[in-house]
């Protein structure tokens, strides 16, 4: 999977004049490093936010306000024994977490993460290298990101099927159900904004909404925004749609037999997907970023808001059953999305 990103990135780099291969390499390393770290910090934030909403304190003992808990968890994950169950399919079992983590980061290659900058001249080898904000600036960025994130669900599916555990196989079956449910809603809900902008590129979306809050697509497409958020929650396995590892029903679902860093890779993949969905929602519906001044701070705030929203919903809402998710997606959300697309088309024609 790693090689796929590298070669694809390289191909697109050849089409762009000012971005060098070195710049993309630096960008890829920055994304990997920062998003992995943010995933670790995200667990701390999640525990704290959930704790405050439930009138608890959350982690407090390790370090000031429990901040060093992240490091303690990291050490625990890295040093834990990596167990492969006896009857499991060894190869697939060990491969599955890599798929989740790798596809999550491949998806991040096509979205703008952090502003572009030029490496200062005084740094030896790399001085003067231009580092782009998007590692691979595709003109079909949205489809690529959604497709890659969909491929990421092979991780839970294969993990569940390979581990010779009944909770695992239920988790795998739920993965397939969840995928077949939300996928159509994601595509149809984001189709209406795509029709308005007339492009699949994130940069075009950002430019179409430049010049203030009143230009945001969310005012023109509130229905699509809400549908996309619901489908995004299902896509990232967040409550109320975290059917795959619903601990009250299926122990830990697809992740039951996993320990140590292999479990950690599922975790990092899930958090990276949360960030990706937040970035897509911020750029497509909430205006994205602007290049000048503190414009980049705004998108980080928007992404932070969506991240907080996911935790907020988790603290407020109960889970749904798999059949309820399928009912919701196919009988409620999909018709609304289709009607929204038709109305958008009629309004654009008239």
């Amino acid at each position: 999977m790693e090689t796929v990103t590298y070669t694809q990135v390289e191909t697109f780099v050849n089409n762009l004049p000012e971005v060098t291969a070195a710049g993309v390499w630096i960008k890829a390393i920055i994304i990997l490093a920062i998003i992995s770290a943010v995933a670790g910090f995200g667990t701390y934030l999640e525990r704290k936010v959930l704790a405050f909403m439930q009138r608890r304190l959350g982690p407090m003992h390790v370090g000031p306000y429990g901040l060093l808990q992240i490091i303690a968890d990291g050490i625990k994950l890295f040093t834990k024994e990596d167990i492969v169950p006896q009857n499991a399919n060894r190869l697939i079992f060990m491969l599955a977490p890599v798929i989740t983590a790798a596809t999550a980061f491949i998806a991040l290659a096509a979205v703008p993460v952090f502003p572009d900058f030029t490496v200062p001249e005084w740094i030896p080898v790399l001085g003067g290298t231009f580092v782009p904000s998007i590692a691979a600036d595709l003109n079909i960025g949205i489809l690529f990101v959604l497709g890659t994130m969909a491929a990421g669900l092979y991780g839970p599916l294969l993990a569940g099927m390979a581990q010779a555990n009944k909770w695992g196989i239920i988790g795998a079956a739920r993965t397939a159900i969840q995928f077949l449910s939300y996928e159509v809603v994601t595509g149809l809900s984001i189709l209406a904004p795509i029709m308005l902008v007339g492009s699949l590129s994130f940069v075009d979306f950002n430019n179409a909404q430049a010049g203030g809050i009143e230009n945001w697509i969310v005012w023109k497409q509130p229905v699509a925004f809400i549908l996309f958020l619901i489908a995004g929650f299902a896509e990232t396995n967040r409550t109320p749609f975290d059917l795959l590892e619903h601990e009250a029903e299926v122990v830990s679902g697809y992740a039951t037999e996993y320990s140590g860093m292999r479990w950690g890779m599922f975790f990092i993949g899930e958090y990276a997907n949360m960030i990706t969905i937040s970035i897509i929602a911020a750029i497509v519906f909430l205006g994205g970023y602007s290049e000048e001044g503190i414009g980049w701070l705004t998108i980080i705030l928007k992404v932070g808001f969506f991240f907080f929203l996911m935790l907020w919903v988790r603290a407020s809402w109960p889970h749904v059953r798999p059949d309820q998710l399928m009912w919701l997606c196919w009988k409620v959300l999909m018709p609304i999305a289709v009607i929204n697309v038709v109305i958008t088309g009629i309004v654009m024609m008239v």
Partner: protein
């Protein structure tokens, strides 16, 4: 140079993975190799500059193979090998011969390559999606609409086939319980 490396990498991986799909007796290996091969094929589209087709390949086959997985989950034990029935030798001979013929034709085709022309070359500055869209809604409008009607027919047929006795609950309704028991008895 990168494109050459990428092409050979994708070629070797795709052929190897599809070989695993055909030869493996383990459902999990076969399905995983199929999915990975389908995803890697999109790499060829990206190398050729057909970004849109590459992404469509990715999205369509990820979903399609996922549905295939759910059937494999229902019919097979994923952790064990499957005993396959022996097929008649004549059939193997015939199908193998036909496949070999197709392969020879495919590899011989580039000899005649100067006769092949691109009817709809890529326009500079226009996205791949726009190009595909224009051709799809002008020259190939009728096949496109026919495909849409076919999909509609398939969908309605699927709803009718799956929708039998959907108003009955399989867990609460006693009659439905009896029916399940009857079906088990007949088996």
């Amino acid at each position: 140079m990168y494109e050459t490396i990428a092409f050979y990498l994708f070629s070797v991986l795709t052929i190897g993975l599809f070989l695993v799909t055909v030869l493996s007796k383990n459902v999990l290996y076969a399905m995983t190799a199929l999915a990975a091969g389908m995803v890697l094929i999109s790499g060829f589209f990206f190398i050729l500059g057909a970004d849109f087709l590459g992404v469509v390949q990715l999205i369509v086959y990820v979903g399609a193979v996922m549905a295939l997985y759910s059937f494999a989950m229902m019919f097979f034990d994923a952790t064990r090998d499957i005993k396959e029935k022996n097929t008649p030798a004549a059939l193997v001979f015939l199908l193998g011969g036909l496949s070999a013929l197709v392969l020879v034709l495919m590899f011989a085709a580039p000899i005649h390559s100067e006769a092949i022309q691109a009817f709809y070359p890529v326009h500079e500055g226009v996205g791949n999606a726009q190009d595909v869209g224009i051709v799809l809604f002008t020259k190939y409008l009728v096949p496109f609409e026919v495909a849409a009607v076919m999909l509609l027919v398939a969908m309605i047929a699927g709803i009718i086939l799956a929708g039998k006795k959907m108003d009955k609950s399989l867990t609460e309704d006693l009659n439905a319980d009896d029916e399940i028991m009857k079906q088990k008895d007949t088996k």
